[in-house]
């Protein structure tokens, strides 16, 4: 943000964009993030001085912007990023949250984690190398996690003489590959993260490119339709019963809207009971609101006294989610201990938690070739596959492609309490 032109009211009206960056060790991902932070003037003087010192100690000629995103000591020692780190910057238009994830094969788990909350993915391609296996992997994960927007940055254009033909060859190759994936909105930008071309400021070296710079795209891309505003879903987190005389009979259902738009007076149905009622009020600390939509946190009160508790879901009568105990899903395995065939796990879905048994592993996906292997059913760390589970309680779900909140689950190992898998319901 240009500090001189800081505008308070502008700040209060900003939107939030969450994006993830996928890239391999050498394709300049850290440099790109450092460049975005530096050129958008999000770096403080003491931070800059720290990396200036560190760059000098390492005998580097320029200040290494990549050092800005270096995290824990283990990484500093090994020179690699080992986990998801979150970064923040803002411009007068938007606030950005970056989920910075490493790209090498053993860290599929981290990419999936970063991708799960992202509106947009930046996929970096080294202009000298073109589309490589890792590009396929990153794109597949972006499509599996249904990140609404993808920006392919063809980086290191300075090392290919800013050549338009190279850029177009890579773009066409990517488009051909992406046609096999379920991705909707793909953009291409030729950049040099090191020199800053087309990151924040427009490149003078590539007059043949007439699209937006990366930052301009991040600031303006339409994210208003990224949430589901059609299917009304309200997973109940808890029941609010104040022990106060002034709210003696108050019974509110607290939760965060997972889809659709709820309005006062709407006829609604509670699941699993199936009882119907009408929304009496949608309450917040700041007073009643007329309507609530994702991702608002509100408290709903109903006209009738019906039994609702944590893990239940309030929906519209004429638009109910799927309900059942036999569920098919794609999973990404996140633990060193492999999936146990017929193993029992805790499954967490919205605010509901129960147990499940893995009935079947249908196939494992080779994430580089997208080949489905029905012979090899061993699912270990960083593997992606399709499984069927049976749950002890019915879940109220939508397919993940329809709703990323009501379509997602995690599996937890009962023995270690560790989160072992991320699941996307089919």
């Amino acid at each position: 943000m240009s500090k001189e032109q800081f505008d308070r009211n502008g700040y209060l009206n900003m939107e939030l964009l969450r994006f993830t960056t996928a890239g391999s060790v050498d394709d300049g991902k850290s440099t790109l993030i450092g460049r975005l932070l530096y050129d958008s003037k999000s770096i403080f003087q003491d931070q800059y001085e720290a990396i200036e010192r560190a760059s000098q100690q390492k005998g580097e000629e320029q200040v290494n912007l990549a050092l800005l995103t270096d995290g824990l000591r283990a990484e500093r020692e090994q020179g690699i990023t080992i986990d998801v780190a979150y970064r923040y910057f803002s411009t007068p238009k938007r606030k950005f949250i970056i989920a910075d994830t490493p790209g090498h094969i053993q860290y599929t788990r981290n990419m999936v984690t970063g991708a799960s909350t992202a509106n947009l993915a930046i996929i970096l391609v080294d202009a000298r190398k073109g589309i490589i296996e890792q590009t396929h992997r990153h794109s597949f994960i972006a499509s599996l996690l249904q990140i609404p927007h993808i920006v392919v940055c063809i980086n290191k254009m300075d090392l290919v003489d800013w050549d338009q033909a190279t850029y177009e060859r890579i773009r066409n190759e990517y488009k051909a590959f992406a046609s096999k994936l379920n991705v909707k909105d793909v953009h291409f930008i030729p950049i040099s993260a090191l020199k800053g071309d087309n990151v924040v400021t427009r490149s003078e070296k590539m007059p043949w490119y007439d699209g937006p710079t990366l930052l301009y795209l991040l600031e303006t891309i339409h994210i208003g339709s990224d949430q589901n505003h059609i299917d009304c879903r309200f997973p109940v987190q808890s029941v609010i019963r104040p022990q106060k005389t002034e709210f003696h009979d108050y019974r509110g259902f607290a939760g965060r809207v997972a889809g659709g738009v709820f309005k006062k007076g709407d006829k609604v149905m509670a699941l699993p009971s199936g009882f119907t009622s009408t929304i009496k009020s949608i309450d917040t600390f700041d007073g009643e609101v007329e309507e609530a939509f994702a991702p608002m946190s509100v408290t709903i009160t109903l006209e009738d006294e019906i039994d609702i508790s944590r893990g239940d879901m309030i929906v519209r009568e004429n638009n109910v989610p799927s309900m059942g105990q036999d569920i098919d899903m794609m999973i990404c395995w996140m633990n060193e201990v492999k999936l146990r065939p017929n193993g029992k796990y805790i499954i967490k879905h919205t605010t509901r938690e129960c147990r499940c048994i893995v009935k079947d592993v249908k196939y494992k996906i080779n994430i580089n070739t997208l080949h489905r292997n029905e012979e090899d059913k061993e699912i270990g760390l960083n593997d992606i596959g399709r499984i069927s589970v049976r749950t002890t309680l019915p879940l109220f779900y939508d397919s993940y492609t329809r709703n990323r909140i009501t379509g997602s689950v995690i599996l937890v190992d009962e023995g270690t309490n560790e989160t072992v898998a991320a699941g996307m319901i089919i």
Partner: protein, 300 residues
Amino acid sequence: MDYNLTHLKELEAESIFLLREVAAQFENPVLLFSGGKDSIVCLHLARKAFYPANVPFPLLHVDTGHNFPEAIEYRDDLVKKYNLRLVVASVQEAIDQGLVKEEKGYNASRNALQTVPLLEAIEKNKFDAAIGGARRDEEKARAKERFFSHRDEFGQWDPKNQRPELWNLFNGRKNIGEHFRVFPISNWTEMDVWQYIYQEGIELPSLYFSHKRNVFKRDGQWLAECDYIPRKPNEAVEERIVRFRTVGDMTCTGAVESEASTLEEIIQEVASSRTTERGTRADDKRSEAAMEDRKKQGYF
């Protein structure tokens, strides 16, 4: 029709969701309250999350004994006003009991000593989730912190063994004796916090606003004159117009020269300031990995 929230509303909704998850998933949560603006915002969010019911957990203040009197006064007013329960963990008591040893020398601080009484209080009161106001933008080691951060039975944090966090599914399962630290404002920046305080009209301790104070300079940093910090012979006390960007232990919280006496002026100052707020914290400057080391042992 477009349904969009402003970024502050979206952050607020996320934090409220998290606070409600804490109340639902844990038996005995506690809110770590320092009197600093981040914990004040957390408390405000908790009041919103459970309204019209009261905040369903107590506050825990780790008292170094070296507090700014203004911060303690503010804390006590707040507890009374919102009918809260306050638990105090005392560093002085831990020293008296021989659990920790007071640091010596000019830069002696009780800041690092807070870990032991904090963990003692968590153990003694059987708190299973301690909610804190840490933000990921504050410091490198915090950039990777989870919302639900698992601590082993010794209260330790293992950066290499963190549970993955996906979507809005938070795994608070643990064994007996273990606990969680929960950070509902992880995704907020310093500017977000100030803007939110302004938008919501949240009252703050007077320390945050510019005032006259006797201070002295050490290593380029203004420190408040007080009985807890021995001065070197060349450290002369001067009266300056200052304010504090963070409120912690008196011995390690630096003042900045500032005329900003209203929230609007502070926001302007934060927007144009050129050092991070932790740049005024001596405890982080001890080594490059100072925060990471303290966190592993169970610091906030």
